[in-house]
């Protein structure tokens, strides 16, 4: 048994009081969950503490909360781990508050419908079956079904939505959970509308190119769905397989990154903008939208130069790696792009969370050269 201080964010909409913190002392084994501690408080001290919960085993997705500042399931977070994480990390205090990016209804309960489910409904979240519907089952590759099982593993807990930084800036962003849901159909060979779905999400200014790759959703997800990876896959399928050039310039921006790294070995920021608008052509520099955005960015550029973060020469001409290093960078591109099939990481296929498997795989890889 160990002593913990459970610091709960309380809010009663009927009290006309602002939200406040309330401390409860709880004695439990360190491997017990934060949910068990909260339920103990409810059972023994204060039954009015509000939290949604049901299965206790990380399957139903009810008990999404923020624990010491990070979103997760209360039932899936051990007390010792919780008390040792976050800003305080004193081994004793566990701060639990409602998830972010969603309005709070009471205590730890948020309005999932107003944000999370609204976004899910935005992505046409049902199969549009390929015609003709077969008499028996659709015959589809084993790998495809295992692949979409990763997104089927989503339990709609909202943890990724809570910690999404893009959504904090742009509340209209379709967000990690809904994007993963979209991949569940785009990756399903039985769906008839892959291209329409992708076009919709690529053209939407709040769609898949609104993600800034902060990895928060991957860390928050208790089920290994890796929503950001699914967003990246949606982009790859949209751009590379369906050749969708979106009006947000998202795909061209990614291509510009690629071509610059390939050519320089490093990012050349001054080139990134024109290439994102005008492609690799030299004339791209004169793309009107590139000019407009350049003007827009001028103050930042001036500030960066003034503070010595970039030199004018470095900003204008970029750095190029030495020939030997650049060759190595390019050989990575050649190897990856030369594969017949695009590599996609999937939890159910590779078990990449598993260190031993990764080790085994890399040993296998090295084998022939050794």
């Amino acid at each position: 048994m160990a002593q913990y201080t459970l610091r709960l964010r309380r809010y009663d909409p009927q009290s006309r009081q602002a939200p406040y913190w309330e401390d409860f002392d709880v004695e439990l084994d360190p491997h017990r969950s934060v949910l068990e501690a909260i339920l103990k408080v409810k059972a023994e001290t204060d039954g009015s503490v509000g939290i949604r919960c049901s299965c206790r085993a990380a399957i139903c997705g009810s008990c999404g909360v923020k624990i010491n500042g990070r979103a997760g399931l209360a039932c899936h977070t051990h007390l010792d781990k919780a008390a040792g994480s976050g800003v305080r990390a004193d081994g004793r205090t566990i701060m639990v508050e409602p998830m972010g990016n969603m309005p709070v209804l009471k205590d730890l309960i948020v309005d999932m419908d107003a944000v999370h489910w609204k976004k899910i409904r935005r992505v046409t979240p049902w199969l549009i079956a390929r015609e003709p519907v077969p008499e028996r089952e659709y015959v589809v590759p084993h790998e495809n079904m295992v692949d979409v099982t990763q997104t089927m593993a989503c339990i709609q807990c909202g943890a990724c939505v809570s910690d999404c930084l893009s959504m904090e800036v742009d509340p209209l962003f379709v967000g990690p959970a809904a994007s993963a849901k979209a991949y569940r159909f785009v990756g399903d060979p039985r769906d008839a509308r892959h291209k329409e779905r992708l076009d919709d999400l690529a053209q939407d200014p709040h769609g898949i190119y609104d993600c800034t790759h902060c990895f928060n959703c991957i860390e928050a997800c208790p089920k290994g769905v890796a929503p950001m990876s699914q967003i990246m896959r949606l982009r790859r399928v949209a751009g590379s397989d369906h050749h969708i050039t979106d009006r947000n310039n998202g795909h061209r921006h990614e291509q510009a990154f690629n071509s610059l790294i390939r050519g320089y070995g490093l990012l050349h920021e001054a080139e990134l903008l024109p290439r994102s608008y005008g492609g690799d052509s030299w004339f791209g520099k004169f793309h009107p939208a590139a000019g407009a955005e350049l003007l827009d960015s001028l103050p930042s550029i001036v500030r960066a130069v003034a503070r010595g973060k970039v030199s004018p020469k470095g900003a204008l001409f970029g750095h190029r790696l030495g020939r030997a290093d650049l060759n190595q960078v390019q050989s990575i591109f050649d190897k990856v792009e030369g594969e017949e099939q695009r590599h996609e990481l999937n939890l159910y296929i590779t078990g990449y969370e598993d260190e031993d498997l990764v080790k085994a795989a890399s040993e296998e890889e090295r084998g022939p050269h050794a």
């Binding site: 009663d12 909409p13 009927q14 491997h31 409810k42 059972a43 023994e44 204060d46 039954g47 009015s48 509000g50 949604r52 919960c53 049901s54 299965c55 206790r56 085993a57 990380a58 399957i59 139903c60 997705g61 009810s62 899936h76 051990h78 209804l105 009471k106 205590d107 999932m112 419908d113 899910i120 409904r121 979240p125 049902w126 199969l127 079956a129 028996r136 089952e137 659709y138 015959v139 589809v140 590759p141 084993h142 079904m145 295992v146 979409v148 099982t149 089927m152 593993a153 989503c154 339990i155 709609q156 159909f185 399903d188 039985r190 939890l347 159910y348 296929i349 078990g351 598993d354 498997l357």
Partner: protein, 564 residues
């Protein structure tokens, strides 16, 4: 006042399937649940769903396995209906988008499951229930114009007209605390089981037997309530489920001496005998001192290739790691039998109709009875879907010839007063918290109404349940508000649980033989001469419930000795 042709209470697999079927039959539909539909406990069903769809398999074989699994207490007409309809239902789910596992050829693939003579369990890794539940919810979102969803609404009472017909319900919007009358031509209960009556249990906190008690209170009969399934593989500390899929994939059971003891109890099927048999075997090993010191048995999944475990049993890899600190791909995990499922429920016919006109029941809340004395693994998902669909269709048909009822608004006033009385309860000397009463109920049931039972233990359990029933109305709550007042709901749920508990205990006392999940150490043999019938339980005011019997329907499989 909302009014619908068909009102469905509960939004797990049975409820959602009923809603889609009723809507397809042209009815206006409302589906109501005290939790968001995807939080329903169907989400926890791991292993799969049975159907005789493979070439070479037959519905008769599936039905026979089910009858044998039920220890001949299942009604064979209902079992035939379920097993015949199973293949079509699997294909329907597949066409709707369920991501069923494929074989290398791209066709549907199956895994082995307990008590089955063929590998006929279709699955999505070990998240089958979750995958189906979420796909059905996709369909509810698609059909939002014909199915109204009332998510996080708590049903307090079923309503009847003067003739006794069920005409709707009163429900509380959990978000606001507002009460509302829902009028409906047909009402389908699909609110799941009563696992919380036991502690520990694999069941979620929401499984408090609401529907069973609600139907019982307005006069519907309950049936097979003594038949409580203890699942052979649950975690000792918290009761979490380790799917039967583990044994289906090849995991073995060992006692503390390292013996694969199932060789003694079920020499043919071994670990894949039916659940009652395996749980009893484990409990015997534990009771006779061959278990581990913590009262457990070892489940060894390391027999299964690691890659296969990571692909097909990922959820229990996580459960082992997160809740037991064990890497199941490398070492055995300690398990024991734990309360998992109630075969009994509200007695229905093959259309889902209860004894109350206009009231249907489907899924775990109901007792058709397809499971009889013991349910086979992967038959519960099938039960929810087949009888959910049939109830939805029949209820929609019934609604076509019925005028829309209108419950008097005065009923709302009564419901307000009842909830007001709970909120106003004042602590008095000796009054306990709801959580304390719930705890005593759960541990009592798990002690006396478990794998092995006898008259003395059952009498003790009954006495305690009666005492708790008297005490419950005095239990106080802390929350006096209306927004998400979970305290007041817990008080109502406790009353539901106590009604269920008493029905379970009374039925277990009544059945003086051993059949399926009911094993009486004082009557250790099955006795077809005296007990080849169902036991029904009906409410008798506040007195001890009335017991009755119902015949078992036998079509083509006469009772035989049951060995695995």
């Amino acid at each position: 006042m909302p009014a619908h042709d068909v009102l469905i209470i509960g939004a797990g697999l049975a409820g959602q399937r009923a809603a889609l079927a009723a809507a397809q039959a042209g009815a206006s539909v409302a589906i109501m649940s005290k939790v968001h539909p995807v939080r329903s406990h169907s989400v926890a069903a791991a292993g799969g769903i049975n159907a005789a769809l493979n070439p070479g398999d037959s519905w008769e074989s599936h039905a026979y396995d089910t009858v044998k699994g039920s220890d001949y207490l299942g009604d064979q007409d209902a079992i035939e209906i379920m097993c015949r309809a199973a293949p079509e239902e699997i294909l329907h789910l597949e066409h709707m988008g369920v991501t069923f596992h494929r074989s290398d050829s791209g066709h549907l693939g199956t895994r082995a499951f307990g008590g089955a003579s063929a590998a006929r369990t279709y699955y999505v890794a070990d998240i089958t229930g979750q995958a189906i539940l979420h796909v059905l919810y996709e369909q509810l979102m698609k059909h939002h114009e014909t199915v109204d969803r009332y998510e996080e609404w708590f049903t307090t009472t079923l309503l009847q007209d003067d003739e006794g017909k069920c005409i709707g319900c009163i429900a509380r919007d959990i978000r606001s605390g507002e009460l509302e009358i829902f009028n409906a031509k047909s009402v389908i209960l699909a609110s799941g089981g009563a696992g919380q009556v036991f502690k520990p249990t694999t069941n979620a906190l929401i499984c408090t037997g609401d529907g069973i008690a609600q139907a019982y209170r307005i006069g519907a009969a309950l049936m097979d309530m003594e038949m409580i399934q203890y699942h052979p593989t649950t975690l000792a500390e918290n009761g979490f489920l380790i799917t039967e899929g583990a044994r289906g994939e090849g995991a073995h059971l060992y006692n503390a001496l390292g013996e694969r003891f199932m060789e003694r109890y079920a020499p043919n099927k071994l670990e894949l005998a039916s659940r009652d048999v395996v749980s009893r075997a484990e409990q015997t090993e534990i009771n006779e001192g061959r278990g581990f010191p913590d009262g457990t048995i070892a489940l060894d999944i390391t027999k299964v290739p690691r890659k296969r475990v990571l692909e097909a049993l990922r959820e229990i890899v996580n459960i082992g790691r997160d809740f037991a600190g064990v890497d199941i791909t490398r070492e055995p995990i300690h398990i024991k039998p734990g309360m998992h499922y109630i075969m009994g429920g509200v007695k229905t016919d093959i259309h889902g109709q209860t004894a109350i006109p206009g009231l249907y029941a489907a899924g775990e809340v109901a007792c058709v009875s397809v499971h009889g004395g013991n349910r086979l693994g992967a038959n519960s998902l099938l039960d929810t879907l087949i009888f959910g669909r049939r109830s939805g269709e029949h209820a929609a048909g019934r609604a076509r010839g019925t005028a829309m009822p209108k419950a008097p608004a005065s009923l709302l006033h009564d419901a307000h007063s009842e909830i007001g009385a709970i909120v106003k309860r004042e602590p008095s000397t000796g009054s306990r918290r709801i959580s304390e009463i719930k705890e005593e109920l759960g541990t009592t049931m798990n002690r006396y109404v478990a794998v092995y039972r006898d008259a003395e233990g059952l009498a003790t359990a009954h006495e305690i349940v009666r005492r708790l029933k008297e005490e419950a109305p005095r239990a106080t709550i802390d929350d006096k508000g209306t927004v998400f007042n979970q305290d007041v709901l817990a008080a109502i749920e406790l009353d539901y649980m106590l009604d269920c508990a008493e029905a379970i205990v009374v039925a277990a006392e009544e059945r003086k033989e051993s059949r399926g999940a009911q094993f009486r150490t004082d009557f250790p043999e099955r006795n077809d001469g005296d007990w080849l019938h169902h036991i029904t339980i009906s409410r008798n005011g506040t007195d001890v419930p009335r017991k009755g019997t119902a015949p078992v329907t036998i079509t083509q499989w006469e009772p035989q000795e049951r060995t695995y």
